[in-house]
Symmetry: D3
Subunit: 131 residues, 6 copies
């Protein structure tokens, strides 16, 4: 169970409910996932984290699906089981197909492999890659 427990909507303060309401409205869902309910013990972190996520994940120069797939790529590299599960679900909701997921994983695997080949072989950065 989460370290400080989860706060359900019915037990939440007005401040926490305001964030929960915004999460549900923004995501067009009636579900608030455990991550937010765990953060709710610290309303300042709950609000700041949600405001950041809302701003960052909104479609802009990159579309929502691309952003969710990047989130999955980072979470898989970091071995964060919770984040892999929740953002894979989010990516699918945003339209990710099985074929896209499979290609995403292939790139994530390859990047993790070549990252270590580059460091292990102590490869120097090419001059032309120095921006």
């Amino acid at each position: 169970m989460a370290t400080l427990g989860l706060i359900e909507y019915s037990d939440a303060s007005e401040e926490v409910r305001a964030v929960y309401d915004d999460i549900m409205r923004t995501r067009k869902t009636d579900y608030v996932n455990n991550f937010w309910k765990a953060l709710a013990r610290d309303p300042a972190t709950l609000r700041r984290t949600w405001e950041s996520v809302k701003q960052i994940m909104a479609p802009g120069a990159l579309d929502a699906l691309t952003k969710e797939m990047i989130y999955v790529a980072v979470s898989a590299s970091n071995q964060c089981a919770y984040c892999i599960a929740s953002h894979t679900a989010a990516a699918r909701k945003a339209g990710m197909t099985d074929a896209q997921f499979a290609e995403l994983m292939a790139v994530v695997g390859m990047a993790n492999e070549s990252n270590r080949l580059a460091s292990g072989y102590q490869v120097e950065i090419d001059d032309r890659f120095k921006s």
Copy 2:
């Protein structure tokens, strides 16, 4: 300098040159970057790694730019300086704008943050995220 040194085209065996040629042809460039020249000391790994990269990074269900950005996301999460430099260059060549790069970094940063909040708070995976 790379652990086993770099092999330049002029010093390369026929086997290695065949891979270099394919890299240049596939990428429409006359440049082979240090990563491959370092791997060339082990022709089996050079060939296998290149064949994998060629297959994985080819446009498919995901386009080439998206794949390069995922590569940058993983490399930044892993702190691989060589890979960040080389794949940022590759992503730009594939069309990444400054605005896309900035959004990519914002997502990478946020994902790395929330990965640790999720693990640190010991948040349990929601039933609905169990695929």
Copy 3:
């Protein structure tokens, strides 16, 4: 289950019991946690690891609570579920309040985020930070 199994006090050799006894005496508890029982299959590692932990975690220039919180910070960054659970418990025993835990997590999250922004943007170290 642990790879080599756990060794309970009643089944332990004299050498292992001596370490268990010292753990319980030092920590003012009658409980030896699974980590030590798993290491006990290799008495040399058990002893060396415990002696190191005892020396390092003793209050000195930093107090015991600060040290436990640093342990949690590292464990959350590394996604080590066992260590997050056991050292969060230890930090609480050392007096960590919910408010301190929440601030700890906020710093850990932020540091993980800015680590990747710094590497991803390829920021050069300021001359004044070169010690």
Copy 4:
């Protein structure tokens, strides 16, 4: 050099200058470090990141020095050279002594070691640590 380059104060927009001014005012310094100058290419990320850092790093349930040491602990675990350099400098400015630094490093090293012993030995979480 930073991927998108650095923006100096003299070349900065009003929006960016406002953040730079707040950084210098909050930190009681006339220096803005490269991290912020690199982020300045994306004013939204610059502002959001700074506002988060300012909120998170302000003394609260944990004092400023403890927070800076946690930042160093995470950065060392992640091998982020820039962040190690900049936050070690910040921790010193906040009063960290050489003895405190040495103990901090000892804890960080030990935590990284025991994290892998716990995972490598596949140690199960003790019931009493399940919060």
Copy 5:
């Protein structure tokens, strides 16, 4: 459950069965583990990954046991529970004794510790180590 589910032999396409057959033949077993059954949803990745693993893990300049132990070392450093479990089993099948496992873990722990001491203390690479 695996994101895209597992494909059992009886439900597998001819292409997937050919890989499963080669896995069982190469490993002298009638068992295909979940990793491959999960990848089977993407036959190209299944085949490429298996061909790479088969080539890389075959005895050569390093024997099979050493290779499996290196796999465990990396997996423990990365906190990959699945890989620790499966490659510990594989290393044992290749002859790893309990004493070898214990020494392997000791080295992995120490390396993870000193990696952070080296980075945290910002130690410069000795000239003689620059290859």
Copy 6:
């Protein structure tokens, strides 16, 4: 430069010299590398770390070369430039050939790749791998 500077033999206390002498005697060399000179600012950590390294890296159930290669594997996975450089040199001194290095890197790369495929696909641990 190292955070607290390096301590040369000529400037070292008797306590530090005793460790330096033991390092040189054990390793049959007249060279003490920067890692130890950086730790020397904290003699307790210097001594404890050296005693641990000496105990762990001594040939036992695993030979010295295998242990050095495992060290390189972990360091490459963690992107620790100092440790990759120093332990690659140590492995070579212990007899590692170029062919062995190349196979080592291939395994390290593959393990890092499959670690992320396993976590990204959310593969459940096979019952038979539960020790």
